[in-house]
Each structure stands twice: as C-alpha cells, then as structure tokens.
C-alpha cells in the first residue's frame, strides 16, 4: 500500500469539534471523535474545502517556510500562475517577479512557462491512443485524487503529461545543468503555491511524478510571503526580461485556461469540487459522450481560488483577464512549435507510472458478508432521524450507520436516539416509582387491596 501523506492537517488546540467541516468534505473523510476532527488519510484528497470553511481556522495546510531556501547555494522560485492575480494591474509582471526574487532568490521562473509547454503539447497528447475519451486534465491534483477515490473507472482517462510545475522545474534544472555552474544538488527549486493539493505533490515522495531532474525542494504558500512581496514591490530593482510568458500560459490560473489550448475540440471546464463531482458523475455513466476534453478544477474560479491565496478569487480573475487582454494586443512572445515538439518527443514530459484507482475499501472482502453488513446499515439508517445534522460526529445518518456497522461508532452517538433511550428510561423509572412491589411495605399510603 502506498503511503498517503497529506498537507491538510488539524491544529488540535484550535479545533472545538464543531462539526462544520464534516459536511463540506467531498469525500466524507472527516469524523469528529473525542471532540476533535479526525481526517481519514486514505480518503482525503487535499482539496482544501475544510481549510476554507473552518470558522476557528483549525484546518491548515503544511507548507514550507521561506527560510528553507537557505539550505541551497542557488535558489530558484517558481511561482504558480495564480500569483499574478494577487496584485493590482498597475504593478508590471517584471515588478511582481522582481519583488519575489528580492525575497532571497537567485532566479524566478514562472510556472506559466511550463504551462505553455504543457498546453502546446496537449494537442499531441490528445491523439495518443491509450486514452479513452474524454481526456481528463491532470492539472488539478485534488481532482486527480478525487477521480482515484470516487471515480476509479475514469483513471485511465487522466492525461499523463507532467504538470506545468514539474515541467518548469525540469526545464530550469536542465538549463542550469547545461550551464554547468552548479551541481544539481546545490540547486533549490521552490514552488510558490496557491493550494494545499500542490503542496502535497511537492512534499509527498510517494505520489511524486518526478525524478531528481525535476525535483522541487519545497512548497511555499502564497499567503505566507505575500506581505513581504508587497513590501518589496515599491523598492526592488526591477529586472527586465524576467517575465517571458504568454497570456494563454498565465491564464492557466483560471478555470478554462488549459482548455484554450484545444480550441477546436469539444471541451468542458468546470470549477468547484462539488460541480466537478456532478459532471464526473455524468461522464462516468456515459452521458457526456460528445465531450473530448474535460478540465476540472477543485477551487471556484480555478487556481486563483486556492486556499493559500490572498486576493478574492473573482478579483484575481479580473486582474488576470485584464492583463491577458492587454498583453494579447502587444505581446510578441511565442514559443516555437519545434521547441515544444522536441521536448514532447524526448519523453521527459510523461509520467511513467499509470495513475491507479484508490477505490474505497468494500464493507467486506467476502461479498456475502458485505451484503449482510449492507442490510444492517439499511436497518440502522431507518432508525436514524435522517436529518444529517452531524452532531454524532459522522457527516450524515447514512455515514453514521456505516460507522456503527464498521464498529467505529455507537447508536447512542445520535442525539435523537439517545433522547429516545432517555425517555424510555424515564418512563420505566416512573413506572417503578408508581408500582409497589407486593412484598414492599407501603410508604405513607394505605394498602389499596381492602375488602
């Protein structure tokens, strides 16, 4: 069994056990037990919904501190395209990227650069015979995990091109290696991340799509370095030529950005994890058979909606669209087809291993026992009130019934069942008070039986 590490974790001190996060979890991975939320590692997809919704800010994402960069001789920042949406358009790309560099990096390369390579390669990959249709984008790691967990039959549809993040790291390392000034191990590449799911990708060697040539050494949250970037914006040396990406490339930060690269195909892009689930449901039962490419992003608006960003996702979207519109009129930046093709054909863009399902465990390995348990679950569900209030610590009545059958909860965890039991008990207590035992001496009362 692969080790499933996660970047979403709980600050136990802050958690009040309020159950708010329970029902926001799209995979039912959270339970409240002993007054604290517990995340089931095998079900968590790192989408960050619980981080967004927790009123006590007890759900956090594990990311790396900026100080980690000091472990390396040559420090490279690779910011996600969403970074550009965090700042007003009066700041130029060069200004923003230079302000990031001034945090202590030797070089800044936008992940949008890798996005342009991957985006252009998509038209070749689209024709690869191994995919059933629709081809499904692998851009959002939370959606990839969602498919593994909830839509196992669609894992073969997932595009096996590496992510823009990995490609950017790879191309940077390749260039630095060719230049020969630093050993690969002396180079530290740091992803500036908008979300928890990407942080997991960086920090989880088990799910890693990389080898040492596209090694990423840390994931730093946008929100952690945002104040320092803002400080640097007005007093840093603006480096010309630091920015060289197309408007299409940094639009990957928005839902539909990737689809732009397959313009002449029937494409569908959906954002927001629940919306993605609804559409994947339709794809899985064969309803959307005319769709050729599906881009699903867990956060509303796409990566600009990531839980580690600062700016409101709609505002960030406006900034990015404004910049794209202006740039489309003036930009001369173009990535030559031959360049993309040579990278594509080199094989360095492909994830080697198949993306396998991570189907939920059945109720029992033996089908007869599983059926028996299913029947027990249904009987229990009937007894429960069906309010899905979450007070029991499970995300709904059905989930509680399943937890009870799995031996992980009790019927009286339900407050309504408990109330009924207490009432039955008080009726019985009352009865006991009223009825005297024949051998007992009456208390302040004459015997009723007299002739």
């Amino acid at each position: 069994m692969e080790k499933l590490l996660h970047s979403v974790y709980l600050d136990e001190e802050k958690c009040l056990g309020c159950t708010t996060c329970l029902r926001s979890c799209p995979t039912g991975a959270i339970r409240v037990r002993g007054g604290k939320a517990i995340i089931n590692e095998s079900k968590c997809i790192d989408c960050g919904e619980c981080i967004r919704i927790c009123p006590h800010h007890a759900k956090l994402a594990k990311t790396d501190p900026l100080s980690l960069i000091n472990d390396f001789k040559y420090k490279v920042a690779i910011p996600a395209p969403a970074i550009i949406g965090q700042f007003k358009t009066k700041y130029s790309f060069e200004n923003i990227l230079s302000a990031i560099k001034a945090l202590g990096f030797d070089e800044v390369v936008e992940v949008a650069y890798g996005a342009e390579v991957v985006g252009q390669a998509l038209k070749y990959e689209y024709h690869a015979k191994r995919y059933p249709k629709p081809l499904i984008s692998s851009a959002c790691p939370a959606v990839v995990k969602l498919i593994q967990v909830r839509f196992p039959e669609l894992t073969d549809n997932i595009c096996r091109l590496k992510s823009p993040m990995a490609m950017t790291a790879r191309l940077v390392r390749k260039r630095l290696r060719d230049e020969g000034n630093y050993k690969n191990s002396e180079i530290g590449v740091f992803f500036i991340t908008p979300c928890a799911a990407k942080a997991t990708m960086v920090n989880n060697p088990a799910s890693s799509e990389y080898d040492k040539y596209d090694q990423i050494d840390g994931a730093i949250a946008i929100k952690d370095i945002y104040p320092d970037i803002v400080k640097n914006l007005n007093d840093c040396n603006i480096q010309e030529g630091i920015h060289n990406t197309t408007p299409e490339a940094f639009s990957w930060a928005l839902s539909g950005g990737e689809c732009e690269y397959l313009k002449n195909k029937n494409v569908l892009h959906v954002d927001g994890i629940q919306n993605v689930i609804n559409v994947l449901d339709e794809i899985e039962c064969g309803k959307l058979d005319t769709i050729e490419f599906f881009e699903g992003l867990a956060c509303i608006g796409g990566c600009v909606g990531g839980c580690l960003t600062v700016e409101n996702n709609y505002v960030a979207k406006m900034y990015i669209q404004d910049r794209a519109k202006k740039m489309k009129q003036t930009s001369t930046i173009h990535m030559p087809d031959e360049y993309v093709k040579s990278i594509y054909n080199s094989g360095m863009m492909h994830i080697k291993e198949r993306i396998l399902p991570r189907s939920p465990e059945p109720l029992d390995q033996d089908i007869n026992k599983a059926i028996e348990k299913m029947k027990q679950i249904e009987i229990l569900e009937e007894k429960l009130p069906g309010l899905d209030c979450g007070s029991c610590g499970s995300p709904g009545c059905r989930a509680l019934a399943e937890d009870i059958v799995a031996g992980k909860a009790k019927e009286i965890d339900c407050v309504f069942v408990l109330k009924d039991r207490v009432r039955d008990l008080s009726v019985l207590t009352n009865e006991l008070l009223q009825v005297e035992h024949p051998t007992e001496k009456p208390v302040n009362k004459k015997p009723e039986f007299s002739e």
């Binding site: 196992p152 039959e153 449901d281 339709e282 899985e284 039962c285 064969g286 309803k287 399902p357 189907s359 939920p360 059945p362 109720l363 029992d364 390995q365 089908i367 007869n368 599983a370 059926i371 028996e372 299913m374 029947k375």
Partner: protein, 138 residues
C-alpha cells in the same frame, strides 16, 4: 445471500434522474464489485433511468445482487415498443423535440444497454409496458 435495491422513476422526472444510477454505483462499490462491472451497470442503469423518464408513464429499476451475478430489471407501464428490432437499432428514437433539446433521446439507449450487459432480454406490449432484464457477471 442476495441483496435487492429498487427505485421508482416517474415520467418526466429529469431533476432526479441519474440518482438511481449514482446510488447503484455507490452500493456496488461498497459491496466490493469490480470497477469494470460497476461502470457497465452504471451506464445501463442510467440509460434505463432516462428511458423511464422520457418514454414511459413511470416505472421501476430493481437491482439484485447475487454472489456471481447482478440482475438489473427495468420495468415500466407505458406505450410499449411497436417494433423491437427497430428500437434496438442505433440512432433510432421516438423521443420528442423537447427531450432532444435537453440532450437526451439520441436513440442510443437500448443498444447501449445491450452492449454493456452480459445478457439482455426485452419484452414489450403495446399500451401496457416494457420490461428489460439485464444480467452482469461479477
């Protein structure tokens, strides 16, 4: 040991259409049925559910889970199908314009069900209804 799951589907019930197939899918996952079989059952079940909503006057979907076979029965009261051979032809449909505009009624329903099931039987009586019994090997 066997297990049964059943759903009523009303005519024109598009808001909830798809719900039965989703529940069937989840149940089969919990029972440990392989993903490949689940996919086939979901596709056939969804087509059946749609047919009930579009063509019938209402009907029922029943899934029986046995140790080595799944049986999916889709039974309705309805107009019945005049020419079964024709109805089994890909692309043939009697769905009205309104339904087609919603993206349904392309006429792939029955053949698609047959292609996904290991065994497919259909019986139909005019002005009474249609019954489809499909089995899937686990």
């Amino acid at each position: 040991m066997s297990y049964e799951l059943s759903f009523e589907v009303e005519r024109g019930d598009f808001e909830t259409a798809g719900e039965a197939s989703r529940k069937i899918k989840r149940t089969l996952q919990q029972l440990g049925i392989s993903n490949k079989v689940i996919r086939k059952v979901s596709i056939a079940g969804y087509e059946g559910e749609m047919n009930l909503a579009i063509h019938s006057w209402g009907g029922k979907i029943v899934l029986e889970v046995g140790e080595d076979t799944l049986i999916l029965t889709i039974e309705d009261t309805g107009p019945g199908i005049k020419d079964l051979d024709l109805a089994m032809t890909e692309g043939w449909s009697t769905a009205g314009e309104e339904v087609r505009q919603m993206g349904f009624g392309a006429g792939m329903g029955l053949p698609n069900m047959k292609n996904n099931a290991d065994n497919f039987q259909i019986t139909s009586k005019i002005d009474e209804g249609t019954k489809i019994v499909m089995s899937f090997l686990v």
